[in-house]
Structure formats: structure tokens, C-alpha cells
Symmetry: C2
Subunit: 332 residues, 2 copies
Amino acid sequence: MAVTLAEVAAACRVSISTVSRALSDPDKVNPQTRARIERIAQQLGYAPSRAARSLVSGRTDAIGLLVPDIANPFFPPIMKSVLSRARDKGYAVLLADSDEHAADESELARDLGRQADGLVIASPRTGETELAELAAQFPVVFVNREVAKAENVVIDETEGIREAVEHLVALGHRQICYLAGPRRSWSNQQRRTALARACTELGIELTELGPFEPQIQAGLRAADLAHSGGATAVIAYDDLIALGMMARLTERGMQAGREISVIGIDDSPMSAVAHPMLTSIHVPAAELGSAAVDLLLARLRSGESSAPARTVRLETRLVIRGSTGPAPVDRR
Amino acid sequence: MAVTLAEVAAACRVSISTVSRALSDPDKVNPQTRARIERIAQQLGYAPSRAARSLVSGRTDAIGLLVPDIANPFFPPIMKSVLSRARDKGYAVLLADSDEHAADESELARDLGRQADGLVIASPRTGETELAELAAQFPVVFVNREVAKAENVVIDETEGIREAVEHLVALGHRQICYLAGPRRSWSNQQRRTALARACTELGIELTELGPFEPQIQAGLRAADLAHSGGATAVIAYDDLIALGMMARLTERGMQAGREISVIGIDDSPMSAVAHPMLTSIHVPAAELGSAAVDLLLARLRSGESSAPARTVRLETRLVIRGSTGPAPVDRR
DNA sequence: CTGAAAGCGCTTACAG
DNA sequence: CTGAAAGCGCTTACAG
């Protein structure tokens, strides 16, 4: 079917080796014959067999990307930057989605790992031990989770969360409710810890509801719970929960920023759709993806063991919009 | 590094051929030795080299998926169903995103095609001729676009659009404005044609604005244009434009379903976030993806030429929510 | 600068 | 039922 090196060689009346060199290591070949070979290869529509090349090189020139849920708007921006960075560097991307099933992550990752040179695993829910095993087996970079001795790209929400709490305090809120994400989520732990510290330092009372799945549906449920609980301000685990909460408030004739203030985390593009627009903690999604690819490729280049595992930490900041406002007087 | 057939063979004291057969064609091998081989292969953690297998079989067991923009919520549900169906059938998925650049599609598709057994291309913007060339070069299934002589899975919006127009007529609207999508978009053509016919048949006046990019931002712009144009109802090319329009209306103190009715197309999950919730034409995204994979694998199995190209057509229907309401009396 | 040859890890007729 | 051998399409020392 496809044109092979042998056919090009025959057409050029040179050996296979020469064609191979002319195409992949041009300096080692006479400029004139090289030019001729290149021309003829072009005419014949020669494209090297990936499988053959891979068999001898031991590389696949592909990386695997594992995500818990493509439909969660948090991930597409990360994925897009992974794709574009990978492509720039000559790598294809194999995709898998665990559909939020922690139990499937390991198997999916292993399958990907077998077909790729390395893996980028976003927001894994799997236990630390299992992830460490994965990282021992394949070159892996974790995104949005810090696994000991592995390479990670994480979000440092300390600053963004502190800004959020200060913002609420300035608006007169004295009690904040955290709408927790999945119990086993690493970033949920990070966020609640950062929040607890900020509240303590600023002398604010902190309560918690949840856990909630990172889905709009869960946010609807959260809204009624939070409101009946008497909170004047909530910070949600993510934008989806926050947006769901706002939708439910509106449905009940209330409005975020008036009866109750709502802050999300992620600052996904959807924030602009809600009314009022969602105040959210901005997470640099694009950098998350490109940093992950850079880290992974650096590791592949350095040949496994050499460099010590690194964790890249990206900053967050608060983006203020309409869903936060003064604490209502009667509830303050 | 990885365990090879030869190592397993040595450990079992049989030939490579026997190990190969025991593992991939068990019937051809003595049950007892087979059991022993399987056990030892397992112990050694043997996993066949994809590259080697691919080199002899000529297959990659991967399919390529090309999408114009992962961040557009229309695509993730389709992608998820492609991923899950492909996995069920033992195929990996290579992903590429053209970032809405029609000019890059062909090259991306060609690159994917070289590394996969076949391609699923969603909503391509490229010209018909070029797509036909692609389809001649690789096994391809187009999603959301009908390319002559190729395999396609498309949406038949006739029914959904007719329901939408009937719905608006019942609410007293007599003039509908279509917020057009990208000029070269195939589904934009489909939608405006279906809309024109429905309006003619129901004696409704149809105007058009645009083209607009399928993004929230474009919807904001569309809102002011549509409102100043005097329309009492709009049908947008997709949910993103519709949602952007609603956000802008709210910003200006108006509300969809009151001053102006808004209908989207796609019925993406985001529809539930807006207030009021968006009336939209439901598109069966999951079926779109699985049908595409089924069609592609059928083609791969049948070995190219045999079966004639098929087009699978999926039905749409209107989902009524709060963004449509009676035509305002003063403008009617 | 160029060619012959070995080898990457499998699968699969072909003998036995 | 099992083994020896050829071959899939490349790359890369090794000679010349």
C-alpha cells in the first residue's frame, strides 16, 4: 500500500541505507544525491512507517493524556494547551477519559503508557500509592495533584483563596461556607486547607457543606442547603458547583451578590454566561497544560533517572465579578 | 527494558512461535503448555510490543479524532462517546484540535491518518474537494457534515427546527431572526435552509444576522444587533451564541423569554446554567460519536472498497425551557 | 560518501 | 502440536 524506503531506493538507484540517511540525517549524504532522493521521495509520496521506526527507536513519539471528564469545562483549556505544545514538539496525543471513575484510572493509564512515551495525568482521584507505582513504571507528569517523588504541575490556590476571603471580609461577610468537592480529591484538600488558614488569619468563621460532585446538578442541591444554613457567602470547590448554585438561587427568586455571595474556582469561560457573572479564582489552565508537556519531554530527554522529580507551582488570583456583593444587613 | 517474547520463550523452554501462538491464537497450542506459558508470561509481566505487532499486521489499533475546538461544549459529549466506544472495541484514540482553523484541518488529518487505522473528523470546515481527497486516502467518517461518497454521521435538524418555528408561532411571533454561524460551516447551511423552509411553510418572515463565530463572545455582539433590529425571536446557530446573547440581554436589563425569545441549537449541558434556562434544539451527541466509531470500524473490517458509503442521519427535537415566551405586544 | 548486513519484536505460512 | 525461518520497514554501526 504505502510507499516504502525500498521503493524509493529502487527509483533512485541507491541503497536503502542511503535513502534512510538522506531523509533523516542529511549531513551524512552527498548534497546532490540527497537532493535527488528528496525530490523522488516527495514525488512518490513517501512517508516513513511509524511502526518500523518505533520498533527500532523504541519510541512512539506520542504522549498519553488521561483526564477525569472532558465534559467538565475545567479540562478542555488544559487539553488544548497539551495538544498544541505536544504538536509543536512533534508528539501525537493519545486521549483517555476515566469518566470520574477513580477505579478505572490505573488501567487506563497503563494502557496509555504501553502505547506512548510518557503520560500526563490530570486531576487523578486514585490513591497516592497506586499513582506512585504508575510513576515508577512510566514517565508521568501529574497535573493538579502532587504525588511524592513524581513530577507534578499544581495550582497554588493560597493566594487566590486569600484574596477571595479578604474580598468577602471587605464586603462585610463574617461567616463563609465552603462547598466541598469530592472527598478524595487532592485539590479539594488543598482548597479547604488554604481556606481554613485564610479564615483563621482573618478571624472569619468557616463552615462546610458537601461533598459535592463537580457538576452543575450538585450545585443546585448545594444552593438550598447553603441558604437554609444561613451563610451569607460561599466559596465553591469549582465553578460548576458555583454556577449550579447560582442557577438555583435565581430560580428561587434570589440573586447571587445580593442575598448571598458566591465565589467559584477555575474561572472557566462559562463564568461569563451566568447572571450576574461569577466571581471566581482564576486558574492558569493553559500554563498547566504546557508546563506538563515541557516537564514530561524534559524527563524523556534526560532518560529517566537523572534529574530529581520537580513540582511546578502556578499562582492563582481572584477575578471579581457580579456574584459577590455586600453581606445582607439582616443576616450579618 | 520491557519483557519480550524471546524472554518468555526462554523461561518456558519453548520456541518463540509457540509463545506467540499460545498468547494470540490459543487453540493452536497444547492446553497444558499453553497454561504454563500464560502463567509465566503473566509472572514476567509480558506485554506485546505494539510497534512490532503493528509492523507485521499493518494495523495500529488506533483511530484518530479531529475536532475544531474541544472547548466548545458541543464536542466533549461526542468525544466521550467516541472514546468509550473505541475502547470497547479495543482501539486507542489519537486526538487533534484544529482550533477552528480550517486551513490546518487537512494537515492535522493527514498526520493523524498516518498514525491510525482510520479517522473520525467532526464538523470540518474544509472544502468538499479536499475532504473527498482525505476520504480517498484514509478510511474516514465525517461527523456533522455530509461529504459526497464518504461515510457520514449527520444531524437532521429539519424536525427540530420545524418544532422551534411552530413553537414561536404559537407564542405569537411573526418574525424570526436567524443568528448565522460561520459562513463556510456545512451545518450552518443545513440550519438556515431548514429554517427558511419551515418559515415559508408557516408563513413567517425570516431575517438573518451574522455570520457569528460559535462563541459566547459573538453572542454578546449578536444581542445588540438583534435587539436593535426589532426581532421578537431569534434562533441561534448554536447554544454558545444563544447563551452569549442572553447574557448580554440580562446585562442590559432585559430577559430572554420576555422582551425577546431565544432558541439555541445543541442543547448542551450549559443550557441549564443560564437564567432563564435556554430553549434549545436537542442534538443526540452521544449517538453521533458511537455511530461514527461503528461506521468506521465496519469500514475497516470490510477492507476499504466493498460496502458503499453510508450516511447515518440522526433526528433532533425541541426542548422548551424559559428563554422563549409570548411575543411582546408592542413589537408584535 | 555509500552499501551490505544485522537487528528491533512480532506473526505466520511451511515443515515435521 | 511445535519449531525454524522469512519478513514487516526502518536505523545504524561497520566496512570500504
